[in-house]
Amino acid sequence: MTDLLSGTAARAPGPDAHRAKRPAKSPLQRVLGGQGRQWLLLAPAVLMLLVFFAYPLADIVWRAFTDPEPGVGNFSDLLADPTTGRVMGRTLLTSLVVAVTTLLLAYPYAYLMTVTGPRMRAVLMALVLLPFWTSLMARNFAWIVLLQDGGPLGMLGSLFGRDGGLLGTAPGVAIGMVQVLLPYMVLPLYSVMSGIDRRLMSAASGLGAGRFTCFRRIYLPLSMPGVISGTTLVFVLALGFYVTPKLLGSPKESMVAQVIGTKVEKLLDFGGAGAFSVILLALTALLLVLVSRVSRAGAALGLSAKED
C-alpha cells in the first residue's frame, strides 16, 4: 500500500515529486514547515520542565556542595554519622525484599496474561492498572487499618514474631510497598513476555524437553529483560519511597526519603538533605542507565521513549 501510494505521488509534478523521495512528513510537519518551528512546539514543555523541575533539582545538588559552606562537608558529615549507614542499609534491604517479592508475585501473573484469552487478559490488565492510578493516600490508609493492632491482618504479625499488628514495623512497610509497586513489575514483565514466540517451547518439547527444562532453558532466559527491568524499576522506586514508610513505619526505622524530609522539615538543613539527595539521585541514575543497557522493556511504562 505504501508503494502504491508513493508510486502515485511520484507521478505528480512539481513539489510533490521531490517530496516523495524523502521520508513521509506528518501533516503537522507540513503545517509547520521546517525544523525551527518544530522547536516552537517543544519549547513550552521544555521551558516549563527546565524552570520548575530541572533548575530546582540542580539547585539542591548545588546546595549539597555549597550550603552552609563550599566543599564536601555535607558528605563527610553524612559519612561520619553512624545512623547514615544504618538508614542506607535498611533502605537497600527493604527495597531488595520488596523487589524480589513483587517479582515472585508478578512473574506467574504476567505469564498467565500472555497465555490466557483476550477477555481474561483484559480483566487481569484492569486489576493491574486500576490500583496503578487510584489514590495512593487511600491505599496507605487502607493498609494502616489492615495492619493495625487487632486489624484484619493482625495475625500476620505472628508470622514475623510479633503479637500486635504490623503497623510501625519494617515488614508492615514492605507489605504496603509491595502492593503499591506490583503494577510496575507486572507491566514490564508482560511487555517482554508477550513478545516471546511460544512456538520455541513447542519445538523444545517436540525435541523431548520436559516442561521444567523448557522453562529453565528457553522461557526464563527470554523473559530475563523483563525480569531485570521490572526488578530495577521497583527497586529504584522503592529506594525513594516517602509516604508509605512514613505512614506505615516508625521514625525509629526511617528510610532514606524520610531522613531527607526530616532534615528539611525540622532542621531546614538543605545542604545535608541535598547531600543525601545527591546520593539517592546518583544511585537511581546508575541503576537506570545499567538497566537501559540490558533491556529496553522500560518502554512498557514509557520510561525510555522508544525510537521508531
Binding site: 487499618v145 512514613k246 514509557g302
Partner: protein, 266 residues
C-alpha cells in the same frame, strides 16, 4: 500456536487470583469503613452511619481542600495536556537536535525520587514566593504530569498510519484539513487519556503538595495525610472512598471511549 501444554493451569490461575486480590482488595476496605458509626478505624465496622460523608462535605477543612485539589487538577490537566501534546507531536517526526536529551528531560519527573523533587521544589519556590500559592501547586504538578501526557500521545502517534495522510492529501485535503479531519480525531483518545492521567496525577500527588502547603491552602491528599498522622478521624475513609470511586470512573472513561480502537496502554 495454541499449545495446551503451556496454557494456564489451575495453580497458575489460583496464583493470579491471589495477586489480583492483593492488588485490589486491600483498597476496597475503605468503602465499608467510611460508613462506620463510630469514631474509630475498627474493621469491619460495628455500627453504620453517613456522618463522615456529611462531615466531608460540610467541614471547611475537608471541603475546601477538595475544592483546592479540583481547581489545581483541572488547571494541571489543561496545561499539561497542551504542553505534552505539542511536545509529543514535535518529537514524533521532527529531526530535532538533542532529541535524546529532551526526551530524558520530559521523562525525568517519572523517575526522580519524589522526596528529592519535593524538597528541591520547596527550596526554589520559597525563594520565588510560589510556596503556598495556587500557581505554585499548578506548575509543580504540571511538571510531574507532562511525562504521562507525552507517553499517552506518543503511543497514539506511534500506531498512526501515515499512509492516511498521503491518502487525504491525494484526495485533495490541505495540510490543515488533513490534520483537523484525519490526524486529530485519530490521536484524540491518546490526548484524552493523557488529560485524565494528568488530572489524576495532580489529584493524587501528596509529597510535593505537603511541602508547598500553607495553613490556608492545602490539597485533599495533604489533608488526608495530616488526618492519618495526627488524629483518628474516619472522615478520611469517606474522602478515600470518594476519591477512589471518582478516579476509577475517570480512568475507565478513555478506555471505554477507545474500545473500538486497538491501543497499547502505558
Amino acid at each position: 500456536m495454541e499449545n495446551h501444554q503451556f496454557r494456564g493451569g489451575i495453580g497458575l490461575r489460583l496464583w493470579a487470583a491471589m495477586v489480583g486480590a492483593v492488588l485490589v482488595a486491600p483498597t476496597l476496605i475503605v468503602i465499608p469503613l467510611s460508613f462506620t458509626g463510630k469514631r474509630s478505624f475498627t474493621f469491619p465496622p460495628e455500627e453504620w452511619s453517613l456522618q463522615w460523608y456529611r462531615n466531608f462535605f460540610s467541614n471547611p477543612l475537608w471541603r475546601d481542600s477538595l475544592l483546592t485539589s479540583l481547581q489545581i487538577a483541572l488547571a494541571v490537566a489543561v496545561l499539561a495536556t497542551v504542553l505534552g501534546t505539542l511536545a509529543a507531536m514535535a518529537l514524533d517526526r521532527g529531526r530535532i537536535p538533542g532529541k535524546g536529551l529532551i526526551q530524558g528531560l520530559l521523562m525525568a519527573p517519572m523517575v526522580v525520587p519524589q522526596i528529592v523533587a519535593a524538597i528541591a521544589v520547596y527550596a526554589a519556590f520559597l525563594n520565588w514566593g510560589l510556596s503556598g500559592t495556587l500557581v505554585g501547586f499548578v506548575v509543580a504538578h504540571t511538571a510531574l504530569a507532562v511525562p504521562f501526557v507525552v507517553v499517552a500521545v506518543s503511543t497514539s502517534l506511534r500506531g498512526y498510519d501515515r499512509g492516511l495522510d498521503r491518502a487525504a492529501a491525494m484526495l485533495g485535503a490541505g495540510p490543515f484539513t488533513t490534520f483537523r479531519r484525519v490526524t486529530a480525531p485519530l490521536i484524540a483518545p491518546g490526548v484524552l487519556s493523557g488529560a485524565v492521567f494528568a488530572f489524576v496525577t495532580s489529584l493524587d500527588e501528596v509529597v510535593i503538595a505537603f511541602y508547598l502547603q500553607s495553613p490556608t491552602l492545602h490539597t485533599l491528599p495533604v489533608t488526608m495525610f495530616s488526618s492519618v498522622t495526627v488524629e483518628t478521624d474516619p472522615t478520611i475513609a469517606a474522602a478515600s472512598s470518594i476519591v477512589l470511586v471518582a478516579t476509577t470512573a475517570l480512568i475507565l472513561l478513555p478506555q471505554l471511549l477507545r474500545r473500538s480502537k486497538r491501543e497499547g496502554k502505558s
